[in-house]
């Protein structure tokens, strides 16, 4: 495979006006959309105009003057990057005069640039070099010593890229990329003329600055001034494979640029419809875990968890797994084992795990980590709209006029989407943030929320109902939409309920702590401000009332007619890369793929016919119920693929007790994670770089994951599941994940049109993709709701039973930060630790002062479930009475603190509300030390004995 860069058309596509323009470029007639630049027009028609300061990720700037052209009938030489095309225009891009002018410009640049091309990291991949060649530069009349920026120290503080000011040509592409693409505004050009230079946040190094290491500036830089360390180390790439990020639910696509078998860099793919050429620090840079020394590459087994691991052959590990599961079933019954699918694995792998359980284990004891994040989304949206998914694509946000963000922190959790949202906000859309914390979105450069509703954790339903109260009592609802699209009687019941005085903003103010006026204003804005779009995250779902909150959100959207077109909708921001896909693939214990209940005879018969066995019509156990059943002695074996329930699930003591009560726990993962401390079999997993498959992002977009290197552990994850299945006698014969997708398509109506050849041709498809929607479905519920009439559901506010009191006066809420991902198993094994070496407890200065605590002090955090120790971060981001932490580090084990309370409908744990007390401490608790000791013991691997 040969290597070529993606074509850079110099300026972004014009904003569509529907009109087109015809002109002549170098004798060729060209017709293109109005507003296109001459530079882009030349590029699109196969030509190329030299350029330095223009790149198609940012608006043109017109500073380098290299892109001059001649336009008939116009004086001078306009810059082609800033001049739009016009009807009848006649442009010449290559004339002797232009060549001379361009050479002159180039000479000036080169005279201020070190000529160490042969030893430069970007040699062969440098636009300055290319353009010097393109303009035919042979000599520099000014000499090479005008170089004021030469010899300046490099900034190597960022762990992933270097900044070398001596190579900077001050084109400001990086500054504009940071402003326009990323929206962080971390870079400026300081000084004038030859003295001007790029600077990160008033002279600090990149690492200490506002920079979030998204890489947009590095990608925009035409020289080696901003360059990936890895390129300097390994050399420039020689081949590229397009694949999908395995971190978050945005689903950015990347070109994995390789040199031989070594990954050099991940470059966001411009044609990626989810990310449009942008990325965040995780997908762009944090993939080093794939080669980390902690990766386990050989299967291992042990008889009990206090023994060291013993490395065995794949054959032995697989045979042992199958025989243990069969032994347990023979002794304790068919329903005594189950499994957990992974939202990090591919659709195909997830489908196979649930197939293994339904077909091979003969029960429905399958669940997935979506249980602990978005299961209420599944329940709530299927009740109200009829399908368990977000209604829009990401592009839709560019048509939104009012954006309501509830319980989500997209700049940290979904950064690439956040950049897009911020771009829309800078264009003038209004923002409402409903969140106990003052997240970055509330106020950041050039973005400020119109309303921030800092409600007390656990009062979402009361707040949303109060907004509904305003909309109904002030008659701001969209009657025509409701009459046409929803059941009017149900609306009337709901309207009657929300109109009751007890649900007014004034009445609930003491509960939520948010001023009634602010709630009224926010409700009016959402209802009347044009296209209203709701984006929400785990701050909605991870509550006792998670499902009610999702339904309350759906009610608001229906009442205001904000469903069924671009710019509006209800959008869950999915946590993990394939959490949407894992849910779609039948990972829940009550549903087959495509959200069809196991008790539905027709669906079950379809699967029975395909798989040749009778299937269980009774729902299986959910994760917390599995753990209960384990402590009760009725559930004895668990297959866990790519999940770390001990660290990520609530009430660690409960999880540990459940796991400890099982006779065979099989963990398939990259690393010996915390759950593996309780495992009897460890099957080494493969990374997303080592396998083929698909992920489905939060927009329901199915995208290819492509193998770029051979699996270090010897097998892709889907192959390992197939080995287990066949050892259990299932006789599977898949040679490639494409065949698994064909099976999914044959058995799942919403996926009927999804096949690998379609994905190759289209790049991606958004389900439903079938005969009714051959090209997929970017926006759902356009002509009617999936369930027929939209259903208004009365959502009473039932407060959580987790109550603050004298012993536990503070409310703990949990979340994540940009540089880490979930339990951190991957990101902790990358240089991302430079930004977040430990979990900290955020607390308000007044709460800290009351307890005599200072920033950085060790504190004990105690709840009814347990206690742990970590260091305090005193900040006004959290309101008095509220404390906040992340759960990225096993040393902290924030889930020792969280309780067993959960969403009433789905058992999604209530991570976001725990009553706690905080007090001074001297260091890690006894429990933490004991745990660390046990973890160390449990990870021992016996040295390999001489070959058997």
């Amino acid at each position: 495979m040969s290597f070529s860069r993606e074509t850079d058309h110099g300026t972004p596509a014009a904003i569509a006006t529907g009109k087109s323009v015809t002109l002549t470029i170098d004798g060729q007639s060209v017709t293109l959309p109005e507003g296109t630049s001459i530079m882009r027009a030349a590029s699109l028609s196969g030509g190329s105009i030299p350029k330095l300061c223009a790149t198609d990720s940012v608006e043109s700037f017109g500073s380098c003057r290299l892109c001059l052209v001649e336009v008939e009938g116009r004086n001078g030489y306009p810059a082609s990057c800033t001049t739009p095309i016009a009807d009848g225009m006649v442009v010449r891009t290559q004339t002797e005069r232009l060549k001379k002018l361009r050479r002159g410009v180039m000479e000036l640049y080169i005279s201020d640039h070190p000529l160490d091309c042969l030893t430069c990291g970007a040699n062969g991949d440098c636009e300055l070099q290319d353009q010097a060649g393109a303009v035919g530069l042979r000599d520099v009349r000014y000499g090479y010593d005008g170089a004021t920026n030469m010899g300046q120290a490099k900034d190597q503080s960022n762990p992933y890229f270097d900044f070398d000011p001596s190579k900077c040509i001050v084109c400001s592409r990086c500054v504009r990329a940071c402003d326009e693409v990323q929206g962080t505004f971390a870079l400026t050009i300081e000084g004038m003329g030859f003295d001007s230079k790029v600077s990160a946040s008033q002279g600090e190094g990149f690492l200490g600055s506002e920079c979030v290491s998204c890489g947009a500036c590095v990608q925009a830089c035409p020289t080696a001034s901003l360059i990936e360390k890895k390129v300097v180390e390994v050399g420039t790439p020689d081949r590229a494979v397009v694949t999908t990020c395995a971190y978050c639910g945005v689903g950015c696509t990347f070109r994995a640029e390789m040199r031989g078998e070594e990954l050099v860099r991940m470059v966001p793919w411009k044609d990626g419809k989810a990310n449009r050429g942008h990325s965040c620090v995780k997908g762009r840079f944090a993939w080093g875990y794939a080669q980390h020394q902690d990766r386990i590459l050989n299967p291992m087994i042990r008889a009990s968890v206090d023994q060291p691991w013993r490395e065995v052959s794949w054959d032995e590990a697989i045979a042992h797994t199958a025989s243990e599961f069969r032994r347990i079933q023979a002794k304790y019954g068919t329903r005594s084992i189950g499994g957990i699918t992974s939202s990090r694995c591919t659709n195909e792998e997830t489908f196979l795990v649930q197939k293994l359980i339904r077909q091979g284990f003969g029960n429905n004891n399958v669940d997935t980590c979506a249980r602990v994040c978005h299961s209420p989304t599944g329940y709530g949206l299927s009740q109200t709209f009829g399908t368990s998914a977000g209604t829009q694509d990401f592009d839709s946000v560019m048509q939104a006029d009012v954006i309501l963000v509830i319980g989500a922190n997209p700049t940290d959790g979904h950064p690439v989407f956040a950049s897009r949202m911020k771009r829309r906000l800078r264009q003038g859309a209004k923002l409402i943030v409903m969140d106990p914390r003052r997240t970055d979105l509330v106020k950041s450069p050039h973005v400020e929320a119109e309303h921030h509703l800092p409600l007390r954790p656990g009062t979402n339903v009361a707040m949303l109902t109060a907004m509904a109260h305003v909309i109904v009592t002030e008659k701001l609802y969209d009657e025509a939409f409701i009459r046409e699209r929803c059941d009017w009687d149900e609306f009337a019941d709901w309207a009657e309920f929300v109109s009751q005085p007890a649900r007014s903003p004034e009445a609930i103010e003491p509960l939520t702590g948010v001023k009634a006026d602010e709630v009224r204003a926010a409700a009016r804005l959402y209802a009347t401000g044009g296209n209203g779009a709701i984006y929400y995250g785990l701050g909605v779902t991870e509550h006792s009332q998670g499902s009610s909150t999702v339904m309350a959100i759906a009610n608001l959207a229906m009442a205001t007619g904000n469903v069924g077109r671009e710019g509006v909708g209800v959008n869950p921001l999915r946590g993990q890369n394939n959490v949407q896909g894992a849910c779609d693939m039948g990972s829940f214990p009550h549903e087959f793929s495509g959200y069809r209940h196991v008790s539905d005879d027709a669906t079950r018969q379809l699967f029975e016919a395909a798989w040749g066995v009778a299937l269980d019509a009774e729902p299986g156990l959910r994760i917390p119920n599995m753990l209960d059943a384990a402590t009760d002695g009725t559930f004895k074996g668990l297959f866990v693929q790519g999940e770390d329930i001990l660290q990520s699930d609530p009430n660690t003591h409960h999880v540990a007790a459940g796991l400890a009560a099982m006779e065979c726990v099989v963990v398939q993962d990259l690393f010996l994670n915390e759950t593996a401390n309780y495992a009897h079999v460890f099957l080494p997993g493969s990374t997303f770089l080592e396998k083929d498959g698909t992920f489905t992002n939060a927009e329901r977009r199915i995208q290819r994951v492509r193998k770029v290197m051979a699996p270090l552990n010897g097998h892709a994850d889907w192959e390992i599941v197939q080995l287990v299945a066949n050892a259990m006698g299932l006789g599977w014969t898949y040679d490639h994940p494409a065949q698994i997708m064909d099976e999914i398509a044959a058995l799942t109506p919403t996926f009927a049109g999804v096949h690998y050849d379609r994905l190759e041709a289209e790049g991606s498809l958004q389900w439903p993709a079938n005969d009714a929607a051959p090209d997929g479905t970017p926006t759902m519920h356009i002509d009617g709701f999936v369930r027929g009439k939209g259903k208004f559901v009365v959502t009473d506010y039932v407060p959580t039973d987790e109550k603050t009191g004298p012993r536990f006066p503070l409310l703990l809420t949990t979340g994540r930060i940009l540089s880490h991902y979930n339990v951190g198993a991957q990101t902790r094994r990358t240089a991302n630790t430079a930004w977040h070496p430990e979990d900290r407890l955020e607390m308000h200065p007044s709460d800290a002062e009351n307890r005599g605590l200072n920033d950085g002090d060790w504190v004990t955090l105690r709840s009814r479930a347990g206690e742990t120790t970590l260091r305090a971060l005193v900040t006004e981001r959290v309101a008095p009475g509220v404390v906040y932490t992340t759960f990225h580090h096993p040393e902290t084990q924030a889930n020792v603190i969280t309780t067993d309370y959960s969403d009433w409908a789905t058992n999604c744990p209530e991570y976001k509300v725990t009553a706690v007390q905080v007090m001074a401490s001297n260091g890690p608790s006894d429990w933490q030390q004991g745990y660390a000791e046990q973890a160390r013991n449990s990870r021992r691997i016996a040295p390999l004995e001489a070959a058997e």
Binding site: K331, Y332, G333, T334, R335, S336, G362, N363, N364, N365, F497, S544, Q545, S547, S548, P589, H590, H597, S599, A614, D616, A617, E618, P619, G620, L621, R622, N625, D628, A629, T631, D632, G633, T634, F635, N651, H653, H654, V794, D796, V798, D801, R864, A865, G866, T899, D900, Y901, W904, A905, N907
Partner: protein
């Protein structure tokens, strides 16, 4: 319910869950709420959870509110679970295990 959630037994938890669901459905009015709760238990609870709550209704009826009791009775009368080794989980240590408090 106990002050210390970390020691909640399965039986306590099922009783708690059933009442939690009932509280969230209560605005529907008694009749609809009972039907909705029965349907919820039928569609989302695994057979051993169903068996446990039925056993509680039988042996400790005062632990269930009238509407939860009505819903459990209704659920129990519904379509019986097809017996694909369904209740074998009890085979080893019999019912005592499930009710271990």
């Amino acid at each position: 319910m106990s002050d210390d959630t970390s020691v909640m037994s399965t039986r306590d938890r099922l009783v708690y869950m059933a009442h939690q669901i009932a509280r969230n459905l209560a605005t529907m009015g008694e009749e609809k709420a009972v039907a909705a709760l029965a349907e919820h238990l039928t569609r989302f609870w695994d057979p051993r959870m169903k068996a446990q709550i039925v056993a509680i209704a039988l042996n400790q009826p005062d632990r269930l509110s009238p509407s939860v009791a009505a819903a459990v009775a209704r659920m129990a009368q519904g379509k019986p679970a097809p017996d694909v080794d369904a209740t074998q989980f009890n085979a080893v240590d019999e019912t005592g295990h499930c009710d271990a408090g």
